[in-house]
């Protein structure tokens, strides 16, 4: 289906189901139960899941296929966000032109940075991209203030021209982002028993774009171009002596992944029309590297899983505080309760980075292929067990 083989089609369908039913899947606990704080099915967070999913899918096209580790992809995300906000300021609140411009601007920006950085490979390439991203961050923070509004960040104001829209709504407030009148922030709430599920327009737009982005990445992975990118990772020398010019291949991959980052940035601004320089900071670039490696670099679905995993931890673990812990452990004797809270304390709230760091180390050490490898191992273990069961039940399978 859609020019994909059976396995890829089923993967696409799985991702489609996961994203489209996310409001249900991420809200397994009733609203007023004690576990409700582990629910992630609210629009803001779901939007972040898919937007960072898109970012990581794009990053994986560069890092997973060619092995070029860019530490500057946040620069493209930021460039996309700024372009989108400018589009909202100057043209109108429709998200389509904003997203288109952010993809184009990020693509051009990636072309420039990639052209210079790809003269080197390995660690030197990483350092060059990092330098460029930090340069962009500092420029956005200071010199480019007329464009980026410096440390305040770029925001919408009441006196923006918005030539295709209105500067202010009838009641004198700033208009909201929309898709042909369909407001991004509008949310439909459905209550079933004790559960409350939220369906947000912005989330579903992001989810559809994620599906398109994921589909495109499958096509790229399975194409001759994708094979060439894997060949670049494997042996550049052999590429050159096989009559293939590696530079345009890596540059194309770099620009494509930069455009994905720009798309993510544009979507971020479309959901919440502001853009700040911190989106370009190197920690943001590092985050997408973590997502990709955690999920499984070079696999199709890995980056999406990694993005969801990290964003879930960031938003859910960071919200647990000592009071919550005390209420969990309140059934214990006082001294023990305090001791337990004391032990767990560094891993929650602001300390969620510690938890993430430990998990990241565990994954890298024990599952070098990321979460995807974990899934494969479980699958392999289950099928081996099944084979064993059928063997013991009298069937004889020829040894492989």
């Amino acid at each position: 289906m859609f020019g994909l083989d059976k396995k890829d089609t089923s993967m696409l369908i799985i991702v489609a189901c996961l994203t489209l039913f996310a409001p249900f899947i991420l809200n397994p606990f009733p609203t007023d139960s004690a576990m409700a704080q582990f629910n992630a099915g609210y629009p803001d967070l779901m939007q972040r899941f898919v937007i960072f999913g898109i970012f990581a899918i794009g990053f994986n096209i560069l890092f997973g296929l060619t092995g070029y580790l860019s530490f500057g992809h946040a620069a493209f995300l930021g460039a996309g966000s700024y372009s989108a906000v400018w589009m909202f300021k100057l043209v109108g609140m429709n998200v389509i032109p904003a997203i288109l411009l952010s993809v184009i601007v990020a693509g051009l920006f990636a072309l420039l940075i990639g052209f210079v950085s790809l003269r080197r490979s390995g660690i030197y390439f990483s350092i060059l991209t990092l330098a460029f991203a930090q340069m962009s961050f500092n420029l956005a923070y200071s010199v480019l203030t007329p464009i980026t509004n410096g440390e305040t960040g770029l925001q919408l104001t009441l006196d923006d021209p918005r030539i295709l829209g209105v500067s202010a709504t009838a009641d004198g407030s700033i208009p909201v982002t929309s898709l042909f009148g369909l407001e991004m922030r509008s949310t439909f709430e459905m209550a079933i028993g004790p559960w409350a599920f939220q369906f947000n327009v912005g989330y579903y737009l992001c989810a559809l774009i994620l599906l398109a982005a994921f589909y495109l990445s499958i096509r790229i992975f399975r194409s001759p171009f994708g094979m060439m990118l894997r060949a670049v990772k494997s042996n550049q020398q052999r590429m050159n002596y096989t009559g293939l010019n590696t530079r345009p291949y890596t540059l194309a991959a770099f620009v494509i992944s930069g455009m994905y980052a720009g798309l993510a940035g544009g979507l971020m601004a479309s959901m919440d029309p502001l853009a700040g320089a911190e989106r370009m900071q190197w920690t943001a670039s590092g985050e997408v590297v973590l997502m990709t490696i955690l999920g499984g670099a070079g696999t199709l679905i890995g980056p999406v899983l990694g993005a969801g995993f990290i964003k879930y931890f960031e938003n859910i673990f960071s919200k647990i505080n000592d009071n919550v812990l005390h209420s969990w452990f309140s059934f214990m004797p006082d001294g023990m309760e305090d001791a337990l809270v004391f032990i767990v304390h560094p891993f929650i709230g602001k300390g969620w980075h510690l938890t993430l760091g430990i998990l990241f180390m565990l994954v890298v050490i024990f599952l070098p292929g990321g979460l995807v490898e974990g899934g494969q191992r479980i699958k392999g273990w289950l099928s081996r067990r099944k084979a064993k069961d059928s063997n013991t039940s009298g069937e004889t399978n020829p040894a492989e």
Binding site: L4, P224, M227, M228
Partner: protein, 251 residues
């Protein structure tokens, strides 16, 4: 006039004159061996032919066109394929994919942004790659990771990859270095078969005299960066100058 004409090539690395006044003419459809003791400049010469190094002086003409100043991939597209001393293959890819890449390079040139069509839909490429695998006797290994194969198989694959580009000149850099005797003999047979069945010129750098004398029909002896003799194998064997410079030590 040979297919490859090297004239007056010189190359200096700092204080070392690696090559000086090298003249070499490789005739079309011959098997030309370049031999010489360690440090004679064989590898430097080879690197000058494929664009890895640019000689300080002289000219290298392939099929009437100069190769100097061109990038390795451009020289390859002109019709020169190179087999390395340690097999250079795409270790992370399957054997079939390894074989498909040169087929793509032959069909689409140095760069083609073919990002939306599926590899498996490229029937002509698949067919060609499968055919070449069969010819190399490795069809049963097509789904293996190339890195997992034995040294001899890797060498076979590399030669097959070069051949699937239908080059006019095949350069081999010590193709049997570090191989067991049986693998060496297999490689000799393979190369013999290639030169008999195909419209191809082979230039080979080799240490192993057994390989050289069972394959070559023309031999150039390099010593200290400059050609000592160029002659037919039977004359090389008896040449006292060669014996003194090279064979004398081992024969």
């Amino acid at each position: 006039m040979g297919i490859l004409e090297v004239k007056n090539v010189g190359k200096r690395f700092g204080g070392l004159q690696a090559l000086s006044e090298v003249n070499l003419s490789v005739k079309e459809n011959s098997v030309h061996a370049i031999i010489g003791p360690n440090g004679a400049g064989k590898s430097t010469l080879l690197n000058c032919l494929v664009g890895k190094l640019i000689p300080d002086t002289g000219s290298v003409m392939f099929d009437g066109k100069s190769v100097l100043g061109r990038a390795p991939y451009e020289i390859n597209q002109m019709g020169i394929s190179r087999v390395f001393q340690t097999p250079e293959i795409f270790g992370d890819l399957t054997v079939l994919e390894n074989m498909m890449i040169p087929c793509f390079a032959k069909r689409d040139g140095a760069f083609e942004l073919n990002a939306l069509s599926a590899v498996l839909k490229q029937k002509d490429i698949l067919q060609k790659a499968e055919h070449m695998l069969e010819e190399m006797n490795m069809a049963d290994k097509r789904h293996m990771h190339a890195a997992a194969m034995s040294r001899g198989d890797k060498r076979r694959l590399e030669i097959g990859m070069c051949l699937s580009q239908e080059p006019r000149l095949l350069l081999l850099d010590e193709p049997t270095a570090g191989m067991a005797r049986a693998d060496t003999n297999n490689t000799i047979d393979l190369l013999k078969q290639i030169s008999d069945e195909r419209d191809i010129t082979i230039a080979i750098i080799e240490h192993d005299m057994h390989v050289v004398f069972s394959l070559a029909n023309r031999i150039t002896v390099l010593a200290q960066g400059t050609p000592l003799v160029e002659d037919d194998p039977q004359n090389i064997r008896g040449n006292p100058k060669v014996r003194e410079a090279y064979l004398g030590e081992s024969a």
